[in-house]
């Protein structure tokens, strides 16, 4: 082996070790990310391994327990539960992702507006505080009652539920830093408000915002499941996780597997995202380490 090869291999070795060390320092973040990647791989790759058919109805194969034909059994209409779970994962992750992106865009821009300009603040803060008053999913239920149940409307409802929290976080950061020396320095050099907000203040606030958004993502999955359980989510025959739980209630005695699987996968998804959120917090703010130390 030439010296050059040797160098390359040690360099690779070193970078691998660096990854391992990083993972060792950020256990929760690593585990959470791995769990999430596994879930995404499960939804993406399974259709290549077993045929996926979430919709075809067959009276002959209804309510079959888990077995070789149907790994997770079939429901009361003979639909394959694993296929339904995978399509459900798509819906759930899609809704949560879309709601989180909306929350990020509007939360960050409205939060900056309200932190920077007192006049805008009166308006934005009043409304976002009012939205925070409603307990739990009540606000989402009200929105869906007005708009009607659909996947897009669930995104809107979850967005309205979580955007006030991000607005508050961003607003607090802007208020904290707007009098800081580095802002004054930038301003005296003629930087515009937009430049100061986006290039000087935003990078310093990104930690808490990321934590808020990742926890919002996992809450969004729970809320989506809850709303579809109530019949306010994407309408049938869309196989939402919450809708599957609702459908399984009538067969809880005869076909408990229909009840167990969708809840288990929700729990798994939420744990992985919570781990990512907690891990991010620990990584960005070592003072708040939640385990050990």
């Amino acid at each position: 082996m030439t010296t050059k090869d040797n160098e390359i291999s040690t360099a690779r070795h070193r970078s691998e070790r660096r990854w391992l060390r990083w993972a060792g320092r950020n256990v929760m973040l690593t585990v959470g990310l791995l769990m999430l990647i596994l879930l995404i791989l499960f939804t993406v790759l399974t259709p290549f391994i077993v045929p996926i058919d979430a919709f075809s109805i067959s009276a002959a194969s209804k309510l079959q327990p888990p077995g070789l034909d149907h790994l997770l059994g079939t429901d009361e209409l003979g639909r394959d539960q694993m296929s339904r779970l995978i399509i459900g994962a798509n819906i759930s992750l899609r809704v949560a992702f879309a709601a989180t992106v909306l929350t990020a865009i509007f939360g960050i821009s409205l939060g900056m507006l309200s932190g920077q300009y007192p006049l805008a603040d009166i308006f934005i803060s009043q409304i976002s505080d009012a939205l925070l008053i409603f307990p739990g999913v009540v606000l989402a239920i009200m929105i869906l009652a007005a708009l009607g149940p659909s996947e897009v409307n669930v995104v809107i409802a979850v967005f309205v539920l979580y955007v006030p929290r991000v607005i508050r976080t961003v607003r607090a950061a802007v208020i904290e830093y707007r009098g800081a020396d580095f802002v004054m320095a930038a301003r005296s050099l003629g930087a515009s408000d937009l430049r100061i907000l986006s290039l000087h203040i935003f990078p310093r606030a990104i930690g808490p915002i990321m934590v808020q958004l990742s926890l919002g993502f996992s809450s969004a999955i729970l809320v989506e499941a809850g709303l579809s359980f109530l019949g306010l989510g994407a309408p049938a025959p869309a196989p939402t996780w919450g809708g599957m739980i609702s459908g399984a209630r009538d067969y809880i005695r005869t076909a408990p597997w229909l009840m167990i699987a969708p809840g288990a996968i929700i729990t798994y998804a939420v744990i992985s995202l919570n781990l990512i959120g907690d891990g991010l917090r620990d990584m960005l703010d070592p003072r708040s380490r939640s385990i050990g130390q």
Binding site: L131, F229, L232, V270, G292
Partner: protein, 315 residues
Amino acid sequence: MFAYMVRRIVIFVPTLFITLTLIFVLTRMLPGSPVASLLGGQSVNSAMLDRVSQDLGLDRPIFVQYIEWLPKILTGTFGESLFFTKPVSEVLMQRLPVTLSLTVFALVVTIVVGIPLGILSAVKRGSFLDYLGNIVSSIGMALPPFWLGFILILVFAVDLKWLPSSGYRPIEMGFWPWLSRLILPTIALSLSQIGLIVRMTRSTMLEVLDTDYVGMARAKGMPEWIVIMRHALRNAMVQIITAIGLLFALGLGGSVIIEQVFALPGLGELITTAAIRRDYATLEAGIFYLTLTALVVNLLVDIAYAYLNPRVRLA
């Protein structure tokens, strides 16, 4: 203290007003006429639709409807629901006790289990118990409460047959029939809240245990449990109490779904049913009551907080 209370109650008024306006706007927004929903399967012509709308006052400008609606909701007369034969306020009064017993039970369980667990995790930081507490709270927060409800039914009602699976009996029909039907919903509702309060108590206690006055108490040679209970916990309590107000609101929100699982005829069940059939009067009134309860509890918590923490009331 009195000045603080007055100030706090004055802030309460605009909050209430904005909440009411939001409720009104959202419930009147966009499609889906309640009249069509009420007439349901009947074959309706547009003339009949118009007549029913007129009878109910739904044809007038939305602003006029709002002005008429505001004093009514504030005085507790919510008008007639299109789906119940009695006034909405009567329906609400029947259902409020169900929701309140459920949320208060869940809150009590949460406090009794969660706060000691949080304190222990903080005091025995890094120990097996701490890790266990962390795992339990992580899982508790990730379980969808409504699914947990069904799993509890599966285990304790279907398999073990220890408790009834669903329904509600008023306390007048006996203490056990009433209590036994609330046990499973209470567990389902409180587990995620326990997760939250454990974490919150733990981090608050850790902060307090790090302060100079706790070090001082230890240096004086006080027994550790007195240091923890009298010096640390008392100060940590100030923050934990704020979290309790939050927990109560969370519990009210959670009860909305849990009541569906256990077929409990509470406010939440009323709200979700009203939402699905666009029963405005009931939806508004139910949400108003639920939100008002949360607001009042928060007000009381804030006042208790100020009482415990002079820095707040004198600020």
